[in-house]
């Protein structure tokens, strides 16, 4: 598969904090999930790749353009769609006006074509009916879809989504999954999330980041396979488990190194993710 984004040795420090440390990545068309605990450097990596902040060291290209140069940065931005972690909105704009405004800032200058494109992305995210409503009148889920429409406008080849499903109810999350899956057809999408189910359902690749370094880079199946033979069931929480919790059936699901003769269970991507984080400084919420 053709490589769209290629990053090599990206490092970034905020004061004495190491946010990114020698991160190398190669992204191609499709949805790539970026998993990691809080403070792992996910948002920082996305901001670097979105050209919001420059890396201290290392380099990367998007579709062959180097954002280290002024011209390259402009070309990258022309091909970029970015949905920040906490997107802002202009509440007195309508949904149409807001996306139109973003389209102008993406240099879509032909009025008729731009308006067609704005209508297209609003239709794509299911906001056609409310496009004339002021953003302050829209629900949180609708606002998030406005932000996604703004990221999609101009049909960017590289889409960076920073935790787009945070705060959404299950139905809205399902709707968002559809949208992201749709968006990933033919373009490169980098999706940062805490939701391992999202990654399992949407992504053809997954990158696990912890402490600013890449801990895993492979397919969801490979990440899941890391937990093969390391998930077991017991009636009591196994003290030797890295993580363990009571399930709805009343038994305990343990992840780690199982004792001999343990009742092994089918691993999930989340199990593989937890085991990948094992031994890092990151806090594992299990």
């Amino acid at each position: 598969m053709t490589c769209t984004v290629s990053a090599s040795g990206l490092s970034l420090h905020y004061g004495g904090t190491r946010a990114l440390d020698d991160v190398s990545l190669r992204l191609s068309a499709g949805v790539t999930g970026l998993l990691g605990p809080n403070g792992a450097g996910k948002t920082t990596l996305l901001r670097v790749l979105a050209t919001a902040v420059p890396a201290d060291r290392g380099s990367f290209t998007v579709l062959g353009h180097d954002p280290g140069t002024s011209h390259g940065r402009r070309e990258v931005r022309r091909r970029l769609g970015y949905l920040p972690q906490t997107p802002g909105f202009h509440p007195d704009f309508t949904a149409f006006e807001f996306v139109d405004y973003v389209a102008i800032l993406k240099e879509l200058t032909d009025r008729a074509a731009r308006h067609r494109e704005v209508r297209r992305v609003l239709d794509e995210v299911g906001l056609t009916e409310v496009r004339g409503k002021h953003i302050r009148m829209l629900s949180g889920g609708m606002r998030q879809r406005v932000a996604l429409a703004a990221a999609l406008v101009g049909d960017p080849a590289f889409l960076v989504l920073d935790e787009p499903t945070v705060g959404l109810d299950p139905e809205q999350r399902m709707r968002f999954r559809e949208l992201i899956a749709h968006a990933g057809e033919g373009r490169t999408v980098l999706l940062s999330t805490h939701q391992t189910e999202d990654v399992a359902m949407l992504c053809h690749r997954v990158v696990v980041l912890a402490g600013g370094t890449v801990r895993f880079d492979g397919t969801p199946a490979e990440l899941t396979a890391r937990a093969a033979g390391r998930v077991w069931s017991s009636t009591e929480r196994d003290p030797g488990a890295k993580a363990g919790w009571r399930t709805g059936l009343g038994t305990f699901r343990n992840v780690g190194d199982p004792p001999a003769g343990a009742d092994l269970l089918e691993p999930t991507l989340e199990d593989g993710y937890l085991l990948t984080l094992d031994g890092t400084d990151a806090e594992v919420a299990a």
């Binding site: 202009h90 800032l105 993406k106 200058t109 032909d110 067609r116 049909d155 749709h182």
Partner: protein, 507 residues
């Protein structure tokens, strides 16, 4: 870019490169301009400005404007719009910061400095709309049948340029202080500053640093003697607006651009040239011309003759002679003796030596049969002029008419007012206290005339009687009515009235 989503329409073919960036700035400017013009403060300010302008222009200068004054009158109204534009442009620039869209917009193609240019350009349509309003206001004045003189493009530009300057100030302020409170505070400061400086004397070059420079005088001078550096002031305003605009661009990341740095240098030069050239002092040539027109106006006059009266006016006031002649004929037609045929000279005079900062009175003409007319017309000026004409017809010259303190005043006032469409109203208007009883001073372009309470009583009664009846008596007793020292009682008696009951003591 590739069309990634099946069935999706093609992405607009945006031209890439600097051309697309420039185009995006103009598109952004149009977007922001539309929003700016639809903001409530701007709409209210425009409504107030247009409403006030229409209301005022309907009756301004009593329908007889001098265009060299009318152009200046277009300047203060736009300041209201300018302040609203300042507020809203500032608000628009801070919008992204206020609503947290900055992190998102920072990775979009149009860089911050170009976005600032977009905001700066967005205030231009407001300035252009004000230009249209200013043009409309001035055209309205110019199309009035009584309009004379010449307007100055520099004066007409001051209003729109002030709007531009204030709008640009709003953008710059947002780049300097990222607080939505800054603009309202600046507004309050500007209003207090304007109130404070309004009380300062007119002289001095510092006043020309303000966007609009008002004059406190009501005098109208020939357009070439105003001594207002309007063109230089317009250049100063344009340069200053450009300076502030480029400063805003530099603060937004445009400082590294050679074109911006060169533009700043050019704008500073423009501003300095304008500021120095508009120093407010009057050139020796203008001062000399002002003295000439004040002391020896006949050297400048163009004279025409109508029905035995010579009208000598400054060149720009030529069209006014017909209006003056109408009044003179009305007064003459009621007079007796030789007065209807006596050659008169109506001479226009003005005290121009103090420019627009003075309100000096014109001394009465010493030459016999010469009547002074000023540079303003319409409203109260018409009956005032009629009084002056009647005074000269009765006494022979303006100096004598101004010193009248006998029964001749009755004849003068009746002659002046009897031919007017609403004599009682005009009697009230020419009197300083707007009364129709008691003693009063009659306003004049030169020496004011005094009316005793007795004069007022007799004149009022005469004006209430049929004009032809009184006119016959005036003509029949003209010699005695215009004889020096004739008493008010005798004048009343000759005109068929009882002796007045009220006092007959001059002021």
């Amino acid at each position: 870019m590739t069309a990634a989503i099946p069935g999706a329409p093609a992405v607009p073919d945006a031209t890439t490169g600097p051309r697309a960036s420039r185009a995006a700035v103009f598109v952004l400017a149009r977007f922001e301009a539309r929003r700016l013009l639809l903001r409530a403060p701007v709409l209210i300010a425009f409504a107030g400005y247009v409403g006030w302008t229409v209301w005022r222009t309907r009756t301004s200068w009593d329908g007889f404007p001098a265009l060299q004054d009318a152009d200046r009158a277009t300047q203060t109204g736009p300041l209201l719009v300018g302040l609203a534009v300042l507020l809203c442009a500032n608000h628009a620039v801070l919008r992204s910061r206020r609503h947290g869209t900055e992190p998102h917009f920072a990775v979009l193609v149009v860089p911050p400095w170009r976005r600032t240019v977009g905001h700066l350009l967005s205030v231009v349509p407001a300035a252009l709309l004000v230009t249209v309003c200013v043009g409309g206001q001035f055209a309205w004045e110019a199309l009035k049948p009584g309009a004379i003189g010449h307007g100055s493009p520099g004066e007409l530009l001051a209003g729109p340029l002030s709007v531009l300057l204030l709008g640009v100030t709003g953008v710059l302020l947002a780049r300097l202080v990222a607080s939505p409170l800054a603009a309202p505070l600046l507004l309050v400061f500007l209003l207090f500053f304007a109130l404070f400086t309004a009380g300062l004397p007119d002289e001095g070059r510092a006043r020309w640093l303000a966007p609009v420079v008002v004059e406190n005088s009501g005098d109208t001078l020939p357009s070439d003697l105003l001594g207002r550096p309007a063109a230089w002031h317009a250049l100063y305003l344009a340069g200053l607006a450009l300076c502030l605009a480029l400063a805003a661009v530099m603060l937004s990341g445009g400082a590294r651009l050679r074109s911006v740095r060169a533009g700043v240098a050019g704008a500073v030069v423009l501003t300095l040239v304008g500021a120095v050239a508009q120093d407010g002092s009057v050139s020796p040539e203008t001062a000399e011309a002002r003295t000439r027109i004040s002391t020896t106006p006949e050297k400048v006059h163009r004279c025409t003759e109508r029905e035995g009266t010579t009208y000598c006016a400054f060149p720009e006031w030529g069209p006014r002679t017909a209006d003056w002649a109408e009044v003179v004929e009305d007064v003459r037609s009621l007079a007796g003796g030789t007065a209807p045929d006596r050659p008169l000279t109506v001479r226009q005079r003005v005290e121009a030596r103090y420019g627009l900062s003075g309100d000096a009175a014109i001394p009465p003409a010493a030459r016999p049969d010469e009547v002074t007319v000023g540079t303003t017309w319409g409203g109260n000026r018409v009956p005032e002029f009629a009084v002056a004409v009647a005074g000269v017809l009765v006494t022979g010259d303006e100096e004598t008419a101004g010193a009248l303190c006998d029964g001749r005043t009755v004849t003068v006032m009746w002659l002046a007012l009897a031919g007017r469409p609403d004599p009682m109203s005009d009697l009230r208007r020419v009197r300083l206290d707007d009364s129709t009883s008691g003693s009063a001073v009659v306003i004049s372009q030169t020496e004011p005339l005094s009316m005793t309470a007795a004069h007022t009583e007799v004149v009022r009664e005469l004006l209430e009687r049929p004009r032809d009846e009184v006119a016959a008596k005036v003509k029949g007793h003209w010699a005695e009515l215009t004889a020096p020292k004739v008493t008010t009682d005798r004048a009343a008696e000759l005109l068929g009235l009882d002796a007045p009951e009220e006092a007959d003591e001059c002021l």
